[in-house]
Symmetry: C2
Subunit: 343 residues, 2 copies
């Protein structure tokens, strides 16, 4: 534990926020970009100490759902697969599909192990407040992932109760997939915000796992097919993976089919880039999502796959407005980050 | 600007967040504790590069209101003075007093230069949403500060329009007070979230200014009286300075009259400690309020003035719960922070 703190001491400043002509705050972090052979194409900061990928692990957590045959057994579409990989905003496009999916399993919201939390998409949230409605577990941003876990348990005809326990076969299948893809055998774990286990892995190993999802040709055929389906589902349904206007949706759309990206709590961001056969794993030391978004946009730009759309470039360099709407500063890559070049 | 980034590279990790048995995120920062003579009693990290105090500047921004005689001319009570120093939650106790105060000046909410933003206190905010009400400028957390500025302009019988411009006499009076108290003549400025100017000052100079408010005996009598009134108003009305359940209210109450504390955006925290004649200024590099709160609680404990109440100690070491309410980690001081001792 202590080595995490010490090694992170050297992580470079990647993002800075200005006010007037001064830098007001800075965010440090580490970046690993790895190809499917495991070659580190970029290593900035500490990429060897395990970090929790949090929700950026979801594409790997969805592997058992597809490769077990559970997805096909329950006739799931790519929309369901995208939801299994989602940190969604609790919009009707998310909650209605999860509700129907649970019904398909013969289950209901009380079977979900995740708790309820506020809906992220403001128009829906405010409408619910106005109607006096409380959010349910289906509104939890991870409800698709949890329904995916339940689908595997149903398919295997094992207990659904306790599916969120680390020793449940579904979670052990996730751990096995992460071990095999990352080449990292020791996976410390903690409990995620949604009550599911989350496995810590070094950024370099995590990026390698993501690269193998991006370029799965050398994986066993069943896993390769599952990887292709998961990544294409994420790319096909950016808003199901996140929500209206969310950074993941903006960045996936901006990359025009070349990449799937996935955010995680506490400043993590992952990218799966089939067009380059690469994986990207980012961790901001202090856990700030605002910084992780700018770093991901900058890395995608350095890789030459970020589009020219203003929405993506407003993530790369984000104006900071005050409550009167006046621009008073900006969030931007530091020189260290913006000078990254790939050969 | 660049020197800010470089020097902050060496700021120590002060707060860490755990998940399971691992550290997940860390926050670095700097701390200055200074006495009224200007002696640095603690200097941790970079305390010499100017930083924006943001809302923690408010006790100094309130000085012209009191020392000009404006507060007395408009028969303001200590409740108004506390509101002038507040980043309030937009509760009725705040908005009703600001509304009445503006009326007393012959002004209204359209005279406030700050913009509207969401109300921070959830029960009130949700009730407003349910009624279809939009927040006004009076709900802006800085509306008391702005009404204080307007009060000075009215008292001086000068234009109220443009009171938020850096060259307006009210803002120049703020700058003069900060210069005189901090001993720092060069004050770069930027525009705060509420549209008022905010003056950047090194943490050491800022803490010195706060110490002189804490122990104002050697200040000119009018300023000394104003300082005593402002600090006692903050200590007497912790919830007017912040809001129900907010960290400032909890910490001021926990110190039982020994200290006033004030948060600022982007990870700033200030303390004025009359019982010790000291000032404390904290800046978290990455701007995280959660870290600034833990650092302030820890410094107050090291100074021997934090009480034993569970609410304050839940700021010092904060349990991290998931959406099911299970404790999965904690936010806590690093060894560097918890080992601080004052002679």
């Amino acid at each position: 534990m202590q080595d995490r703190v010490i090694s992170a001491m050297d992580n470079p400043a990647l993002v800075e926020l200005t006010r007037g002509d001064r830098v007001e705050s800075i965010h440090r972090g580490a970046i690993a970009v790895v190809d499917s052979k495991g070659v580190l194409r970029l290593s900035l900061g500490d990429v060897e100490t395990p970090v929790f990928p949090r929700s950026s692990l979801k594409p790997i957590q969805a592997l058992p759902l597809v490769e077990s045959g559970a997805a096909d057994a329950f006739s799931l579409t790519d929309e369901h697969i995208a939801l299994a990989c989602a940190s969604h905003s609790g919009e009707p496009m998310h909650t209605e599909r999860v509700t129907e999916w649970l019904t398909r399993l013969g289950l209901g919201k009380s079977d979900l192990a995740c708790g309820a939390h506020a809906v992220r998409y403001e128009p829906i949230w405010h409408a619910m407040i106005a109607r006096g409605e409380r959010p349910t577990r289906i509104h939890n941003n991870c409800s698709g992932k949890h329904t995916g876990f339940l689908t595997v348990a149903r398919h295997w005809d094992i207990a659904t109760k306790g599916y969120e326990q680390v020793d449940h076969p579904v979670q052990q299948a996730v751990a096995a997939a992460l071990r095999e893809l990352s080449g990292i055998s020791d996976l410390p774990w903690g409990v995620d915000g949604c009550a599911a286990p989350n496995f810590a892995v070094p950024l370099a190993g995590f990026a390698h796992a993501l690269a193998r999802l991006a370029m799965p040709d050398e994986l066993p055929p069943r896993r390769a097919r599952a990887a292709r389906r998961i990544v294409s589902a994420m790319i096909a349904h950016p808003e199901l993976v996140s929500g209206t206007g969310r950074a993941c949706a903006v960045l996936i759309r901006s990359c025009s089919g070349k990449a799937a990206v996935k955010t995680g709590a506490e400043g993590v961001y992952a990218a799966i880039i089939p067009s380059l056969g690469m994986g990207v794993a980012i961790k901001i030391d202090d856990g700030a999502g605002r910084a992780a978004e700018t770093v991901m946009a900058s890395v995608l730009q350095s890789l030459g796959i970020l589009g020219d759309d203003p929405a993506a470039h407003a993530i790369l360099r984000a104006p900071i407005a005050n409550t009167r709407g006046t621009i008073v500063g900006e969030r931007r890559p530091t020189a260290t980050l913006s000078e990254i070049r790939f050969g």
